[in-house]
């Protein structure tokens, strides 16, 4: 039996040394949890980059071991509510919006921001409409609003 055959046999055995079967079974059983952990890991990495912090700095701020932070950013974290709360406070991020899957979640800040944008858009539309009404008032008065200079030879766009 050559080396390759030995490897295949080891992988296919009932108790393979690499434990890949257990790993696959674990991933299958904890698919949703792992997906959430991956989302949190990506958000943590983004927040660390934004702040210019190392994983070690985050560990110091949260008073946990660097190994623990390393686990989180690898997507292997299993978070307690208190840990999420601490992460939110230290990094200034909102985790519950990330954790909600297939659900529309908004934070108070995001809601206010959106409301502000909508109000601003309304005011812009209103200002624009008022400009049109000003023109309308000028049209109905005896003074012409525009002075049209039109060359006789220019007959482009006759009908519209």
């Amino acid at each position: 039996m050559n080396k390759t055959e030995e490897k295949i046999k080891a992988l296919a055995s009932e108790n393979p040394a690499s434990k890949w079967k257990e790993k696959v079974a674990f991933r299958k059983a904890n698919k949703a949890t792992l997906r959430q952990a991956a989302k949190v890991a990506l958000r943590l990495l983004d927040a660390l980059e934004e702040k210019g912090w190392s994983q070690a700095r985050l560990a110091r701020e949260l008073e946990v071991t660097p190994q623990q932070v390393s686990k989180w950013v690898k997507g292997e974290g299993d978070f307690k509510f208190s840990t999420i709360d601490k992460l939110e406070k230290v990094l200034g991020i909102t985790m519950h919006a990330i954790l909600a899957e297939d659900e529309f979640v908004t934070t108070e800040e995001a809601f206010e921001e959106r409301l502000k944008e909508e109000i601003m858009a309304y005011h812009q539309r209103r200002a624009q409409t008022e400009e049109y009404y000003k023109l309308k008032n000028q049209v109905s008065s005896s003074k012409a609003v525009m002075a049209v200079s039109h060359a006789d030879g220019d007959l482009i766009a006759m009908a519209g």
């Binding site: 309308k136 060359a151 006759m158 009908a159």
Partner: protein
């Protein structure tokens, strides 16, 4: 054929007023096409160019069969719209082309937008959609220029 965009940009269009009234015909038999064709059409507009923003604002008013006395049966329509336009890189354009875009094209687009609105509204009415006939824009501009000369 790939369409090339015009340097004239339509930034905004708002419908400011729309009023449609249906006057019930006294006669039972009439030709709708002929009736629509005999409607009078009044158009007025006002154009203003903002030197700072280089934006062109155009107010357009269209009244169809809207005479105070003895309007024809069918639709009596008044619509008003406002539009904002801008010419991209006006310095790169010849004066004639720039004038053409500023005066003809803007008014043309406004009338087209309002034509579409009139059709959409009247399409729900008893006589079906009224399609505003093509308008001689040159004449409209001439009339407006004449109005300016008088004042």
């Amino acid at each position: 054929m790939k369409a090339k965009f015009s340097p004239l940009q339509l930034l905004d269009f708002k419908l400011l007023e729309s009023h449609v009234e249906f006057i019930v015909p006294k006669d039972d038999e009439f030709d709708v096409k002929e009736l629509f064709h005999s409607y009078s059409v009044d158009i007025d507009f006002g154009l203003k160019e903002d030197i700072g923003t280089k934006e062109i604002k155009l107010f357009t008013f269209i009244a169809i069969n809207a005479e105070e006395e003895n309007p024809l049966p069918g639709y009596k329509i008044v619509v008003e719209g406002g539009g904002t336009f801008r010419i991209q890189n006006p310095e790169a354009l010849e004066e004639n082309l720039k004038n053409n875009l500023t005066q003809f094209s803007t008014l043309n687009m406004m009338i087209n937008n309002l034509r579409n609105i009139i059709y959409q509204i009247t399409n729900l009415g008893p006589m079906g959609g009224y399609l505003l006939p093509p308008i001689d824009i040159t004449q409209l501009l001439r009339d407006k220029a004449g109005e300016g000369d008088k004042n």
